[in-house]
Amino acid sequence: MPVIAGQMRGTSALLNRRNSLVAALAGIAAAFSLTIAADPRLSKEVGDRVDQAAQGFETVAAMLAERSPGQRPAGALANLKHKRSAVESTAAPLGRHVIPPVEAIMGAPPAPLIVPPIVAAPPLYNVAAGTPAPILPASSGAGGGPPILSDIPPPGGGGGVIAPPPIITEELPPPPVTTSAVPEPASWAMMLIGFATMGGAFRRHKRRRGQPAIG
């Protein structure tokens, strides 16, 4: 009878251990399958393989997808560079930007409007001499000759320097960033290992403290 009881105890211990092992393996498998399901790239690869099998060759999209690092996670805005503060921007007001040469955007700028100096028109008659002064050459048609007043635009308009449109650069610069706001996977892994080690140490310590001293 004691033999049977011992056998039963051994069997139940074995069953308990096996159940624990099965539970652990099930946990690993569940985590693994969840990871695959959550990764869009892996899902897409499966879809591409099916598509290739149907087509009989590897598609261009699949070839490009193979080299992809994957889709970007949502909400990846943690590392954005912020705009300059209002205090800083007073030195360089919004809209004033140091960028591309004007020629690159608009071609060569038109020549600035050159206003000839105002020349006093000679009198029609030289009163002192009593002889008629030479009359200015008559122009044919509508106007001509140098403009007398500088604020009258020349016929046909145009002229002047066209300022380039303000260009707003909304972009992440390439700063020599050394630290990241989001921990890297290696950091996560190290943290997890650290916590696991701490937990194991605490458990071992508690268990040993509960046991009677040996010797």
Binding site: A23, T35, L80
Partner: protein
């Protein structure tokens, strides 16, 4: 004992998850000029110079599916997924011709084609959720080798301007989890090559991260 097994299982599964995430490109790789180019699939027609020449069937399918909007002749053979900061450039023996840039926001990749041959590819960073990078067919409006943004007080070397409101392709710190205010950031060594290979007026096609059907 049972609790120990379960905790051990959870710990291992967490490590597996982190490892998979890292393997799927979540690491900050140092830029490597030349990725391995050995073919792994015998169905690909890879010549000795590390190119995959497309068959007529592949080209027809790609045009039909909208993957590309113009005929291309070859792709660079890239054996493994590129990491952030990686790029590949090979324009040896590629004839002169029109240059076309294809940017795929979903796969976070840029491809540069000349005369239909792919000469460069790299991982990019692009606009964040509220600063979306515009999609569609654009042109290079201007080039600036040493550009400094006064708005963000930052250097933006090798800028290729695409829109009048400032969206550009330029050198950036390409790392996992980063996003921009709408520009497309590429590794600086790649940006330099791209700057030299393009000219004002070259076409740029930006494929959106999600189609309208997916977005709705």
């Amino acid at each position: 004992m049972k609790r120990l097994w379960i905790s051990l299982g959870c710990g291992i599964s967490a490590l597996v998850a982190v490892g998979l995430q890292a393997g799927s490109g979540a690491s900050t790789g140092v830029a490597s000029a030349e990725a391995a180019s050995t073919p792994k699939d015998s169905s690909k027609d890879v010549s000795s110079n590390g190119r995959i020449f497309l068959t007529n069937e592949q080209l027809r399918q790609a045009l039909k599916s909208g993957t590309i909007d113009r005929p291309i002749k070859s792709l660079l053979a890239v054996e493994r997924p590129l990491k952030f900061g990686d790029y590949k450039w090979d324009d040896a023996a590629v004839p002169d011709g029109p240059t076309w840039i294809r940017i795929d926001l979903k796969s976070q990749l840029i491809s540069v084609f000349r005369e239909g041959y792919e000469i460069g590819t790299a991982v990019i960073v692009y606009g964040g959720d509220n600063k979306e990078t515009p999609a569609g067919r654009l042109h290079i409006l201007a080039k600036a080798r040493n550009h400094r943004s006064s708005v963000y007080d930052a250097e933006m070397p090798y800028t290729l301007r695409l829109t009048n409101d400032g969206v550009s392709i330029h050198a950036s710190s390409v790392r996992w989890g980063a996003a921009t205010h709408g520009c497309i950031g590429v590794p600086i060594n790649f940006a330099e090559r791209l700057f030299d290979a393009t000219k004002v007026g070259d076409e740029v096609t930006i494929v959106p991260a999600s189609t309208p059907q997916q977005a709705s």
